[in-house]
């Protein structure tokens, strides 16, 4: 999320010297991936906005104790279901708790329940996918049958099972979401590996003496990396919703801890008299998920060297 620091700065990118396409490699062509990502994010307003949103939410979550105007769990019966005001910028909920404060504190829980399962599932799923795709044979068959089984399992059902066995809670909700997400990555990465494995550059590298391990490390993994990162980002957005859903159903974080999904659920009863209690966390979930998705797209464009020319053309226009 670091490139976002550039995103909030005024978009003042020094123009590259006139590119001589025929003789010069041209700007961007030979830059590092992170440099290209920075360029991409600073030049695409949507990507910049998404990065800014995610940065804002992250910073707010990190600095929650300092930023939140109220204690998120303190009940104040004198201001129940109050609309936005100077004292409570986003109003209060049915127990008179400050919604802005709960939103900020809830961001901690929601981001953790989104990012951690997505990351764990990405790593575990990629390892399984590469193993299955590259090694093939019975390893492939075994891994993929397990993956198929897991994939046919709705995550809410699994979460309910885990909650029933181990009790509801943040960790168990994350566990359930992680377990059902691993197969998605495993499948995707396996498919990518299967096609990369057949590439002529793999054969060429082996023709020049590369070992199996070198082949995986230098040729297979780097070529799946953009898929991993893009899908990882997109899945993180999905995780925000999954985590909120579990909390909404009472399978995730337990009250009174603030969480966007739980806040959405608590506003249900008063939807007619005080719609802001549900809509504020609901909109937050929507915007954050959207930001993850848009950023995922931008990351894809930046990580794929074949898109660089396209980006330069856009920038020049």
């Amino acid at each position: 999320m670091r490139p976002a620091s550039d995103a909030v700065a005024p978009v003042e990118v020094p123009r590259d010297k006139t590119p001589h396409r025929d003789t010069d490699p041209g700007p961007g062509g030979s830059r590092s991936a992170s440099a290209r990502l920075r360029r991409r994010v600073t030049r695409d307003p949507l990507a910049a906005g998404s990065a800014a949103v995610l940065l804002l939410v992250t910073v707010a979550a990190l600095l929650a104790p300092a930023l939140a105007p109220y204690d998120p769990d303190v009940v104040d019966n004198s201001v129940r279901l109050a609309g936005p005001s100077r004292d409570h910028l986003m109003g209060t909920d049915q127990l008179g708790r400050d919604i802005l404060s709960r939103l900020i504190w809830g961001g901690r829980v929601s981001l953790i329940t989104a990012v951690v399962p997505a990351t764990v599932a990405l790593v575990a799923g990629s390892v399984l996918g590469i193993l299955a795709g590259y090694v093939g044979g019975w390893v492939d068959t075994t891994v993929m049958r397990v993956v198929d089984t897991l994939m046919s399992f709705p995550y809410i059902l699994l979460a309910m099972g885990i909650a029933a066995a181990l009790g509801p809670g943040l960790f168990n909700a994350m566990l359930a979401v992680t377990v059902v997400t691993i197969p998605i990555f495993a499948r995707l990465i396996r498919a990518a590996v299967l096609s990369i494995k057949e590439s002529e550059f793999i054969l060429a590298a082996q023709g020049l003496g590369a070992s199996g391990w070198t082949t995986v490390r230098r040729h297979v993994v780097p070529n799946t990396l953009s898929i991993m990162v893009v899908y990882g980002t997109l899945q993180t957005g999905r995780m925000v919703i999954a985590a909120a859903s579990l909390s909404f159903l009472g399978l995730g974080v337990q009250p009174p801890t603030a969480d966007w999904g739980a806040m959405l659920a608590s506003g249900q009863a008063s939807l007619r008299v005080a719609p802001h209690v549900s809509t504020v966390p609901g909109l937050t979930i929507f915007v954050v998920t959207l930001a993850f998705n848009v950023l995922g797209e931008a990351v894809r464009d930046a990580l794929d060297p074949r898109y660089v020319g396209d980006l330069d053309a856009k920038a020049a226009a």
């Binding site: 030979s30 550059f201 060429a204 082996q206 023709g207 953009s226």
Partner: protein, 343 residues
């Protein structure tokens, strides 16, 4: 087709052999049945020599050359029989670890399509240093980079330092093939296998790449197996030629002998089908029929018999597989009726 019945030992001067492939049989097991890709191919390669393997698509030329490197995926491929000796070591039974040691160091491969033979996500420099260092970890990154720049300069790429920074998509096809050649010669292999090195390139670039191959080979003193279906390429680069048809080597000879005195009817027909062999304005010659399908059981006789102009209805051609005859010193052909070849 093991030993030639008329082996004239003593007539030929003893010639050092770097690589000797004997009676190679390779099959591919597919869902539709067994594909007989190579059916007893034999050829050898002397030090510093360029052997052109010519034949139409599916004649087994790539498979027979590549099986020496251990890069034929198995399954589905299955080496049924045969041997490939490099300095007396049989490569077909060597461990995959040993073959990996040999690849790059002793045997390097240049592939057909330079557009896909480079990894799209790394710079040229990164891939070249990897190719250098994979065979010798003692070389530092910096030294490997210097060597990569030097190699690029040697294969005729201007401003090599800048090229090292670029990604494959920023280079033209000819440039990429130059990079592939540079990578192949990086570790000074003794054998280069060039699998249709110019087929994917523009005609104007083809000549340049052929010149470069000849140059690289001269400098390295490497023996080269040049796989192609282009007789022009053979004429330009090869010292000797092996003509393949339906998985067998039907004729081998020095390049001049082959073009001047083809003995096998297939070679004869092949040479007659060249545009240059036909006077202007006349229809070009073509061999009637199609090559046999490699799928399923092999017919017992000569694979070329159904298309052969020399057969003249003789039964022996379809009942008995022809042996490989020494028709002249260092000139062999697999035809029962080789004596009928025009002088």
């Amino acid at each position: 087709m093991s030993a030639a019945p008329r082996a004239v030992a003593g007539l030929e001067p003893a010639r050092p052999t770097l690589l000797r492939v004997e009676d190679l049989v390779v099959e591919f097991v597919t869902r539709d049945g067994v594909v007989h890709a190579v059916n007893g191919a034999s050829f050898d390669l002397g030090p510093g020599e360029t052997l052109g393997i010519v034949g139409e698509s599916g004649s087994g030329k790539s498979v027979s050359a590549m099986s020496v490197t251990g890069l034929i995926p198995s399954p589905p491929a299955r080496i049924v029989r045969g041997a490939a000796y490099l300095d007396g070591e049989d490569l077909l039974t060597a461990s995959s670890r040993r073959l990996r040691e040999l690849r790059g160091r002793e045997i390097a491969v240049i592939f057909q399509d330079p557009m896909t033979a480079l990894n799209p996500v790394f710079t040229i420099g990164s891939q070249m240093t990897e190719a250098i260092r994979v065979n010798d970890r003692a070389v530092s990154r910096r030294a490997a980079r210097d060597r990569a720049a030097d190699l690029l300069a040697r294969v005729g790429i201007p401003r090599p330092r800048e090229r090292l920074q670029q990604y494959p998509f920023e280079l033209s096809g000819g440039m990429r093939q130059r990079v592939m050649i540079a990578m192949a010669i990086a570790n000074r292999p003794r054998i280069l296998i060039a699998d249709e090195p110019t087929t994917a390139l523009d005609v104007t670039v083809q000549a340049q790449i052929l010149d470069l191959l000849a140059l690289a080979q001269e400098e390295l003193q490497a023996a080269t197996i040049l796989i192609t279906h282009d007789l022009g390429v053979i004429a330009e680069l090869a010292d000797r030629v092996a003509v393949m048809y339906a998985g067998r080597v039907v004729e081998t000879a020095a390049v001049g002998d082959l073009f001047d005195h083809p003995v096998h009817p297939y070679t004869e027909a092949l040479l007659a089908s060249r545009p240059a062999a036909v006077p202007d304005g006349e229809d070009m010659f073509q061999i009637p029929g199609v090559p046999p399908t490699p799928l399923g059981d092999l017919p017992p006789g000569c694979a070329f018999a159904p298309r052969c102009h020399r057969r003249d209805g003789r039964a022996r051609c379809v009942t008995e597989s022809p042996a490989s005859w020494d028709v002249a010193p260092r000139h062999r052909a697999a035809c029962h009726f080789w004596t009928e070849a025009p002088a």
